[in-house]
Amino acid sequence: MIPAAFEYFSPQSVKEAIGLLEKHGDDAKILAGGHSLLPIMKLRLAQPKVIVDIGRISGLSGIKADGQKVAIGALTTHDAIERDAVLKEKCPLLAETAAVIGDMQVRNRGTIGGSAAHADPAADYPAALLALGAEIVAIGPKGTRTIPAGEFFVEMLTTALKPTEIITELRVPVLARGTGAAYQKHPHPASGYAVVGVAAVVTMSGGKCQSAAIGVTGVAGKPYRATAVEKALIGQSLDETTAAKAAAHAAEGVDPQGDLYASGQFRAHLASVYTKRAVLLAASRAK
């Protein structure tokens, strides 16, 4: 399978890339790792006339911690995120999530910016980004803006990004004291994508849950915060029974999507099961 013909640009700077996006409008598509875009171009589900390969722009990859936040460059690969020592210490949830994406070859190539921008309903990072309250930093013709993860994922394969905007980095908060986090995933046996993936960030105080943030991917058309679960967890001492009771709300208010592998009903069930697991694991890690 061969993609339809296109014109190829490899800009050296973000400014140059934005110029190309402005000039070519809807005909243009950004290329990062290519591990979502190229497969759909090979299937001719996408036939962009212009490819703007941002892979050679320097300064868009790497991980740095500045006080309360860790900034991750958009071109940072899943593999680099999985292995980074700073992230493992300051935001282990993201490293844990990266480690279960696809396979080693996919992680060597795929980028966090590409995954966020693609907004695949079965992608892994979105659950973690929502639970962490991450920020997505994008630059466009009108300058830089910071989009909270909660406003970023709009619909299946649709984000708040404008076609002329480029994600430059993502920011996640440093894990606070007394807080634990975990990502639990039911991978599709063939594709490896998340049938259901749940990220939990839980803060414990005096043996009780003080706050909780639960991000869920795979279940609905877009990733979401399971707010009913979060409410039900607060004030509880977390054990099998209390966690299961709260996790029963995991698919509340959403429309679970079914496919050949898992019906909507089964996905809703899995959401509860994996939410319970993620919550208990996160609570056990809260120190």
Binding site: I2, E7, I51
Partner: protein
């Protein structure tokens, strides 16, 4: 419009003009004539097309040749040096790591990346490492044995043999 691409493959420099939509695997097979890199699924799943780019295993059916501009590439043809098999090839030979051999080049290059980063992997780590490579013949056990064989050999060669 064609684009110039310069790459080093198995230590040899190449320069070509290519269509931007040319996939790296087709560049390697059809333009360089290095047909040891296979096309299995063509949908990024089977790993038969795995090569090393700057030392890292990637699926060359999911990359454009133009994305490899300036890169150092290794394919299965570059594993043996001076007629001597690479330890991973020796492992597949000794432990019967292949039957039809279709998946083998990709398996070996994936294993090389894995062993570079983790010279002493557990069986589970090996199985997770080759998660992106499918084999229809062997049932994987002999592939795992082959990689373990290579790991022992490579640790020995580097003077880092750890007791088992």
């Amino acid at each position: 419009m064609k684009r110039a691409v310069k790459v080093t493959v198995n230590g040899k420099a190449y320069a070509h003009e290519v269509e931007p939509r040319l996939l790296l695997v087709h560049y390697i097979r059809d333009m360089l004539g290095l047909t040891g890199t296979h096309v299995g699924c063509d949908t990024s799943n089977c790993g038969a097309c795995t090569i090393l780019i700057n030392g890292r295993a990637v699926k060359s059916c999911t990359l454009l040749a133009v994305q490899a501009e300036g890169a150092s590439i290794q394919t299965v043809e570059g594993l043996a040096t001076d007629g001597k098999l690479h330890p991973i090839q020796e492992g597949f030979w000794e432990e019967h790591g292949l039957q039809c051999g279709f998946c083998t080049p990709g398996m070996m290059l994936t294993a090389v990346d894995l062993l570079q980063r983790n010279p002493d992997p557990t069986e589970e780590q090996i199985r997770m490492g080759i998660e992106g490579n499918l084999c229809r013949c062997t049932g994987y056990q002999h592939i795992v044995n082959s990689i373990q064989h290579a790991a022992r050999k490579m640790r020995g060669a580097a003077g880092r043999a750890t007791p088992r």
